[in-house]
């Protein structure tokens, strides 16, 4: 194939679009985080996010969050078209500040969980999940 100026420009535009999407999603995730924390600093202690390293299908990815003593935990999928996943608020009869659920991931990305502790501090955990593309799909 001979590279023409035109095809180089088209390829360049394609690369920009492909690169632009996750950037936008990340910005949206950052907005959500700022909304949740009010821009406060986040520690990394006191919260555990369990997610598979490789998800066999992005439609149903099991995750677990655990933050002893937290009031609430926000879960975000930073690479999804909209980053929100769930916000868990724990009441007085919660047996632990932990929960499991199944989530959708549009592709390989970082899943983020942020706990709001009772003392007003925040803690963040992040886990990269590789979403595989099946061989056949039939």
């Amino acid at each position: 194939m001979t590279l023409t100026r035109r095809s180089v420009m088209v390829m360049g535009a394609g690369a920009f679009v492909a690169f632009g999407l996750p950037m936008r999603a990340t910005a949206a995730a950052e907005d959500r985080i700022a909304e949740f924390t009010g821009g406060a600093e986040m520690g990394s202690e006191g919260i555990t996010l369990t997610a598979p390293e490789i998800a066999e299908n992005g439609n149903t990815v099991p995750i677990e969050v655990d933050a002893p003593g937290a009031e609430a935990i926000l879960v975000l999928a930073t690479g999804n078209p909209t980053p929100g996943v769930a916000e868990f608020k724990f009441g007085p009869l919660a047996g632990s500040q932990s929960a499991s659920t199944r989530i959708r991931l549009a592709g390989t990305q970082d899943v983020v969980a942020i706990a709001k502790m009772k003392d007003g501090s925040f803690a963040k955990a992040s886990s990269n999940v590789k979403v595989t593309i099946g061989g056949c799909g039939g």
Binding site: E56, N57, N59, T60, I133, G134, C136, G137, G138
Partner: protein, 283 residues
């Protein structure tokens, strides 16, 4: 030229990278009660073709495997519950439900899934479970038949399978079914489509290898109907066959066609000795 490129692409996908990944060494127990046979010695059917007979469960990831071990975690059981309600529902001119003749599904249907497809003497044909359900509906209930791969049918098959979980698949291959079984075997080894792939090319010659990011199984059907994470519903054997054949870029046979009935009989018999798993969970 195009075809060569396509074949090269697919075979490349099979052979490139980490070509072999061991099926996971794990033990499947359902609800902490039902011990499942998921890895066993080959029966006479596959002697010389497969060194061992392995359920598709072993080829799936840790989380997917775990989802099948508890009925509450297995989303396929939602459909089984729907079918449980349908079992008691009176339909058709005869004013009967499944329960009117068969009573409690757990008693009357235990062991049934394990021996299907099987010969029906009266009709003089090999019947899949779906065909038997529809024969019951049209002849005994005088109700409308269900769509072969529709949700109502697949849910009913899942219910009937669920009460046989843990029992060994034991499909007959001789006697009156021998001819159909031979036809199914021939289909299994016949290359189809633009990619010229037979069932055996992937599921006998290359199981355990990665096809792109997917772990190729032996294509056993002891776990059907299957709840797939991909489409979040139950999938029937013939719907899966159709998908596989389509992926070879062929015109497919129709669900319920004599060809797929024969193929189901043969493929089911390749899994003789494995436990009935349906509804299982796969990716």
């Amino acid at each position: 030229m195009k075809r060569t490129a396509a074949i090269t692409a697919l075979l490349g996908a099979i052979t490139a990278g980490a070509a072999w990944a061991e099926p996971a060494e794990d033990k499947l127990t359902i609800n902490g009660e039902i011990e499942m046979t998921t890895w066993t010695e080959p029966s006479a059917v596959v002697e010389g073709a497969l060194p061992e007979v392995i359920s598709g469960w072993h080829f799936r990831g840790t989380e997917t495997r775990a989802m099948q071990s508890d009925d509450f975690d297995n989303p396929g059981m939602i459909f089984v519950e729907d079918a449980m309600a349908a079992w008691d529902e009176v339909e058709g001119e005869a004013g009967k439900s499944c329960a009117s003749c068969h009573g409690d599904v757990e008693d009357s249907m235990k062991g049934v899934r394990a021996v299907y497809p099987k010969w029906n003497e009266t009709a003089g044909e090999v019947r899949t479970l779906e065909m038997q359900v529809n024969a019951c509906r049209t002849e005994n209930m005088q109700a409308e038949p269900l769509k072969y791969t529709g949700t109502d049918m697949t849910s009913m098959v899942a219910l009937i399978s669920s009460v046989s979980r843990g029992l060994p698949v034991n499909v007959a291959t001789d006697g009156p079914v021998a001819e159909t079984w031979e036809q199914g075997k021939k289909l299994y080894y016949t290359r189809t489509g633009q990619l010229e792939l037979s069932c055996a090319n992937c599921h006998e010659d290359n199981y355990g290898r990665m096809i792109r990011a997917d772990h190729l199984s032996q294509g056993q059907i002891n776990g059907f109907p299957v709840y797939r994470l991909k489409n979040t519903k139950l999938n029937s054997v013939h719907a899966r066959f159709k998908g596989c054949v389509r992926d070879t870029r062929a015109e497919t046979y129709k669900p319920g066609s004599p060809e797929f009935v024969a193929l189901e009989l043969y493929v089911a018999s390749r899994g003789n000795g494995l436990s009935v798993e349906g509804p299982s969970v796969r990716n």
